[in-house]
Amino acid sequence: MSLALIAALPFIGALLPGLMIRAGKNACAFVTGSVTALALLLLGLNAPAVLRGEVVQTRIDWLPSLGLNANFFLDGLGLLFAGLILGIGLLIIIYARFYLSKSDPMGQFYSYLLLFQGAMVGIVLSDNILLLLVFWELTSLSSFLLIGYWKHNPEGRQGARMALTVTGGGGLAMIAGMLILGNIVGSYDLTVILQNKELIQASDWYLPALILILLGAFTKSAQFPFHFWLPHAMAAPTPVSAYLHSATMVKAGLFLMARLWPVLAGTPEWFYIVATTGLITMVMAAKIALFKDDLKALLAFSTVSHLGLITMLLGFGTAEAATVAIFHIINHATFKAALFMSVGIIDHETHTRDLKRLGGLRTLMPITFAFATVAALSMAGIPPLNGFLSKELMLEEAYHTTWAGSAWLMPVLATIGAMFSVAYSFRFIAHAFLGPVRDDYPSKPHDPGFGLWAAPAFLALLVVIIGFMPMTSAAWLVNTAASATTGEPVQAYIKHWHGLGSPALWMSVAAVAAGLILLGAHKRLMALWNATPRPEAKAMFDGLIEPFAHLSRRLTDRLHDGALTRYIAIGILTIAATAYYGFSTGTHTPGTRALLDVHPVPALGWFALALATIAIVIFHRNRLLTLVLVGIIGLMISVGFAYFSAPDLALTQISVEVVTVILMLLALNFLPKQTPAESTDSRRALDMGVAGIAGLAIAGLSYALMTRDPAFAPIADYHIANSKPGGGGTNIVNVILVDFRGYDTFGEIIVLGIAAMVIYALTEALLRSGPANDRLVAWTPDLKRAGDRHPMMLVVATRLILPIALMVGVFIFLRGHNLPGGGFIAGLVVSIALVMQYMASGFAWAQIRQKVDYHALIACGVLIAAATGIGSWFGGLPFMTTGFDYFHIPPLEEFELATAAIFDLGVFLTVLGAVMLSLASLSRIALRAGETINVEPFDIDPSEGRSLDDLDPQEAR
């Protein structure tokens, strides 16, 4: 448990600073610090066991089916890194307390910092590579927040994005690598994986896995060619740079390489990829560092260089080299963190980090000068400091390594790298501290308070201690860590003097000498450097990302530019193509069903339908004519239904068609009456093609279906057989609608109800003040209008037709269960009858005389239908179980009552309400458009003896 707790503590703790900041900066820093300290303490408690060579483990099942478990283990390597992370973390927290200015939100800073810390600890303690991945990406995220901490600073934003992209991207590659690794071994647990070197290195998937994992490691550890993000991450506050970009996060990559060293290292692939990358990185970065005037940039590239050094050592693949790598990790962490903090202090005091504006701080900031110099000398590898020790060992290893057959390449390049690092280290001291005191510092510098220099000073002290007595102070840690890394017991012998015979001695002598020469010639070299053009990392990165982002924007907007017609065309073609693919790849035997023979009159009907259909395409720009033609098509289809034994369909089709046309006419009144000709001929041709394909496909499919019998007896046979005995009706279709599949109808009437509701709501929205409303108020008819709205003849005729039509509606409703008809058709018939009345005298006129709440009509319809369904619950029967019986009340004849009829009543009401509510909404729009309400049912009343408009409006009602 305790291991998981160590990893969890910082996460839990991350909540505190946000709260504690209210209690002041000190309290905030203290809480943050004590969280870290507590974690450190817990780690310490486990240390003895680890030093004894045991492995502490904690296992918690999380997502077993994936093999992702919260398993932690602590060995020497983990101990070393966890110690570094928490220890330096503690120092950073103290340092940051005094570094951050008042305006900076410290609570946020500490929260992010603890998040990051937790993620790092998680990485180094994970015993499950998937879990490790979780923490790995978390470091990318939290560092994103830390680097972008100064929101106002654009470099911060870009740096953060760059870091996230590069390290996050590497992390994603690593996910693949880890999954492969896990699949090779059959487990994602590190402890298991580390046991299977042979299995892994034998697998065909070894190289891909290696490359993908190294991608993750190299990006994280800023190895060439992914090094460029690190300097830009320096836009972060210095504590962040010191913590993430020198001591911890950039070492995560190294850690991973060390962690998997036992199973991945030792192959030529490993050597050439890792060692070479490390070597190149070391030399190249060191050279660049020499020419950076920004102190942080200088340190950044030196960090990259040292990371390269360590990578190279791990790449050698020998236990000795690995041991040296571990040792240098410790040393680098100490002196580099100290240096970053020193730079932070200089920046803090002088308000600049530009070497060209510095110099002579030796006398002004003696304390800072002291520990900064110690750290810098260690970085340069000057004896007896710890940097010297690990560098000597490194050179030694390099000397014994042959690269692609050449024995000298490695040592020479390593020496050159060392030379550069000597040069920039000395430059750091010389150009920042030595030289004459200047009078043009942006701000008057002096040593900061203890709080700010305590941490770096302490680290510098470590540099010295390790330097003087490595065996007593560090060897034990190196040994355990190295043993854990290499998987074999390691005994490191770290000493200053290897004797004159040791090549490393002469190599470092050369390096120091050459380094001093370089420093001397720095001015001229600088000029040369500035003269030579070189690739700017950021430019390259942006050159990669920005065009891609731009391209994505272009592509996305082009594809989804709102051209519905194209969308539909693509959709239809896709459907046709895939459907045809499905057909052509299957076996098809043509149907053998006997076909109906053609009679002249039906053929004529076909002719009428076809002609009207073609006409609608030809005349579609004349919208009124289009609707007339729709009327014909609807009529013909309806007749067709009647002919092919579907009376119910005939009735429904014709009534729906009329109501639809009327709705469209109502809308058309406000729409343009003509459709402009705007498609090019090619576009028309294309559309014709699409339309043709669709038509052919559907025609072919339906023909193929009509000419064959179903493979199995259709379920309809049951409906036919049970319509009368089970459903109590002889109109099978209606019984299906209200009984067998009444649930469908229930959904269907709700669709109607919703439709009306939507139309109503939309009308409300349109009539609110806004462009639509303004347009309506300003609306003037675009067609010349006839004088009388309500010709008398129609009104008078309607007075007879309406009641008769209502009667027909009732009739159709009542007979529906046994003969063609039913609630839906009846509803439409009644609606049509009312529409007739409204056309005769106007909707509003009728409204005033007879108010009906159409919402209520719809709702009641739905509720009645639902109630009929629920009613059957009380019989212990499922929803919508219908019942019917025959009654005989003398002297009346026997008659049937079916609950289905009540359901059908619900249908009737909903339909009626829906149609009426829609009409009402449209008539409201007409009113807003300046239409007016007449007083009399018709405009001209002969009995008045004069036309109404001689009256003045007051006289009218």
Partner: protein, 117 residues
């Protein structure tokens, strides 16, 4: 007969699709209406064509056509009616709000023509 029905069905579909691909809402709606007619006929034909066998139980009847597709068509008709009504209304609303009745949104709004000014 089947061939006639199928061809009529194909014609309806083609006309519907063609109108659906026009650039103004009104023809698009008409096209969708035609398409829904085509769909209804298609479902109907899924029950095969029969003459004079209405699905009304009758002791003199010599067989019945498959009633289920008819019921499905009824449901489909009703639903597509509701959908069309909503679409018509939305098209009207869009026209009143935008001042033009183009369906594609990839162009800048033109100045209103016709009734709405």
């Amino acid at each position: 007969m089947e061939l006639l029905v199928a061809s009529a069905l194909g014609l309806l579909t083609s006309a519907g699709v063609y109108l659906m691909l026009r650039q103004r809402t009104f023809p698009v709606i008409v096209g969708l209406t035609l398409l829904s007619y085509a769909v209804n006929v298609f479902i109907f034909t899924a029950g095969r064509l029969t003459v004079n066998l209405p699905p009304i139980i009758d002791k003199y009847a010599n067989g019945y056509t498959d009633p289920l597709p008819q019921a499905l068509v009824l449901t489909a008709i009703v639903i597509s009616f509701g959908m069309t009504a909503v679409l018509v209304m939305m098209a009207l609303g869009a026209y009143l709000e935008a001042g033009h009745d183009k369906v594609d949104m990839n162009d800048t709004d033109e100045t209103p023509k016709g009734g709405a000014k």
